[in-house]
């Protein structure tokens, strides 16, 4: 079962790298957006909410195509990044991480937002009467209380990034060793007459990863509840 071919190993390690980078980069942005949505009222909030959830309902191919238009070599942001910083995202693994991060973003934000909403804001008030600035109150009270929710969101984001297919293959294609993830490798293998065994291996790997991530996420969600109750 574990005697993976080199193509399969490359796809697995690349997928892990993409999913880790996507999760780590998306998390601080996700925390900021979740906090804004949970705690602040501002004009256009409904638009921000819709934008965050858009990747969930938009066909992934469309998201990938929009990414290509925006971050491709000739795209508005893509050409700016390439000309000024030498950063190219299209057809690179970094582009795959971007696509995965965007597709997984709604799953990342939701549990974080829910845990921010569940935290009693009056605790922060109590912290300020004890000498904590609003920023320190956030760092010492709100953030630790939201931590299980943050981890649950990260786990879901990671799992989604591992399985992402449509947006990734549209934006960065399926180049072995550069952008061929587990999903795009499986897709390529099942179209190859002799690829069934290898495809089955990769399918097994992705099922284990996805199931494990869901279990972990559930575990952390339960811990979040216990933590709020102060047990």
């Amino acid at each position: 079962m574990f005697d993976f071919s080199e193509t399969a190993w490359t796809a697995i390690t690349l997928t892990m790298r993409i999913a880790v980078v996507a999760t780590l980069v998306a998390t601080p942005i996700g925390i900021a957006i979740a906090w804004l949505l949970a705690r602040k009222q501002f004009p256009g909030k409904i638009v921000v909410e819709a934008l965050v959830h858009l990747p969930l309902v938009l066909p992934p191919v469309v998201t990938g195509y929009l990414l290509l238009l925006t971050f491709g070599r000739r795209g508005a942001v893509g050409s700016f990044l390439a000309d000024n910083f030498g950063i190219v995202l299209s057809f690179r693994w970094t582009g795959a991480a971007l696509a995965c991060g965007i597709m997984a973003f709604p799953l990342l934000v939701r549990p974080i937002r829910l845990s921010f909403e569940a935290i009693d804001m009056r605790l922060e008030q109590a912290a300020t009467t004890l000498g904590a600035s609003p920023l320190r109150a956030f760092a010492t009270i709100t953030l630790p209380l939201a931590l299980p929710g943050i981890i649950a969101g990260m786990v879901l984001c990671f799992a989604k990034a591992i399985g992402e297919f449509g947006a990734t293959i549209t934006f960065v294609s399926s180049i072995p060793g550069e952008t061929q993830t587990i999903s795009s490798a499986v897709y390529a293998l099942i179209q190859t007459p002799a690829g069934d065994r290898e495809a089955a291996q990769l399918i097994g790997v992705s099922m284990v990863l996805a199931f494990g991530a869901l279990l972990l996420s559930e575990l952390f969600a339960r811990r979040a509840v216990a933590r709020m109750r102060g047990e």
Binding site: R122, Q125, A126, T129, G131, A132, S133, T140, P144, G230
Partner: protein, 222 residues
């Protein structure tokens, strides 16, 4: 010395209060909804007066004419809330130490021990707030506020969420604080019995205004 002259419109009620306190326990006494909590929230800096002035020991904390507003975390005014508001993810010991850490005060083992003894907290140190009774929570909240070394301690119905038996358990601790902690207090309550036992000065608050002031005789309606 605390000097308060504030006005704040809150929905249908206007809170307008003017008083000074020289120390000891100043009680704001009156029915719920009278504006007592709003007054101490303004002293704490959690609520901003529309107009007025708040001074403590000659330092201006709020002055709407000169546009002074010191934020809550720089006021060094302790606050004990009706619902304790302990931090659920921290142990009792960490809750007690929170104010010291936030104010970057040096570790004061003797002070901590004294407060712990005063409030009988020694046996609770390693527990989480979820495993404390209502009365224990309130004692920890008192200790936490004191250990931040406030120059004034505000208390908003600290016995309000406790049953009568627990109330009579905690009241002696409050009297001990009054006599031993050396921190002036502003005590909000609607319970004449509590105020009678605790206060050195009483202001009756009704409909957002101070309608009577003096000693505990204010508690008996004429």
């Amino acid at each position: 010395m605390l000097r308060v002259e504030v006005r704040k419109v809150l929905g249908a009620t206007t809170v307008e209060a003017s008083f000074t306190s020289e120390g000891g326990v100043t009680a704001l006494f009156g029915p719920s909804g009278a504006g007592k909590t709003s007054i101490i929230n303004m002293i704490a800096g959690l609520l901003r007066p529309d107009r007025g002035l708040i001074e403590i020991d000659g330092e201006t904390l709020d002055d709407t004419v000169r546009r002074v507003h010191v934020p809550a975390h720089r006021r060094r005014i302790g606050y004990v809330f009706q619902d304790a508001r302990l931090f659920p993810h921290l142990s009792v010991e960490q809750n007690l130490d929170y104010g010291r850490r936030m104010n970057r005060l040096p570790i004061d083992a003797a002070g901590q021990e004294r407060v712990a003894r005063l409030l009988d907290l020694e046996a609770l140190m390693q527990r989480r707030p979820g495993r404390l009774s209502g009365g224990e929570k309130q004692r920890v909240a008192l200790g936490r506020a004191l250990l931040a070394r406030p120059r004034l301690l505000l208390m908003d119905e600290p016995l309000g969420s406790l049953d009568d038996e627990r109330k009579s358990d905690i009241l002696p601790y409050l009297i001990r604080l009054r006599d031993n902690a050396g921190v002036p207090m502003v005590y909000v309550s609607h319970d004449a019995g509590e105020v009678r036992r605790l206060a050195t000065q009483v202001f009756r608050v009704q409909g957002g205004r101070i309608t009577a002031k003096g000693g505990v005789e204010v508690l008996t309606p004429r």
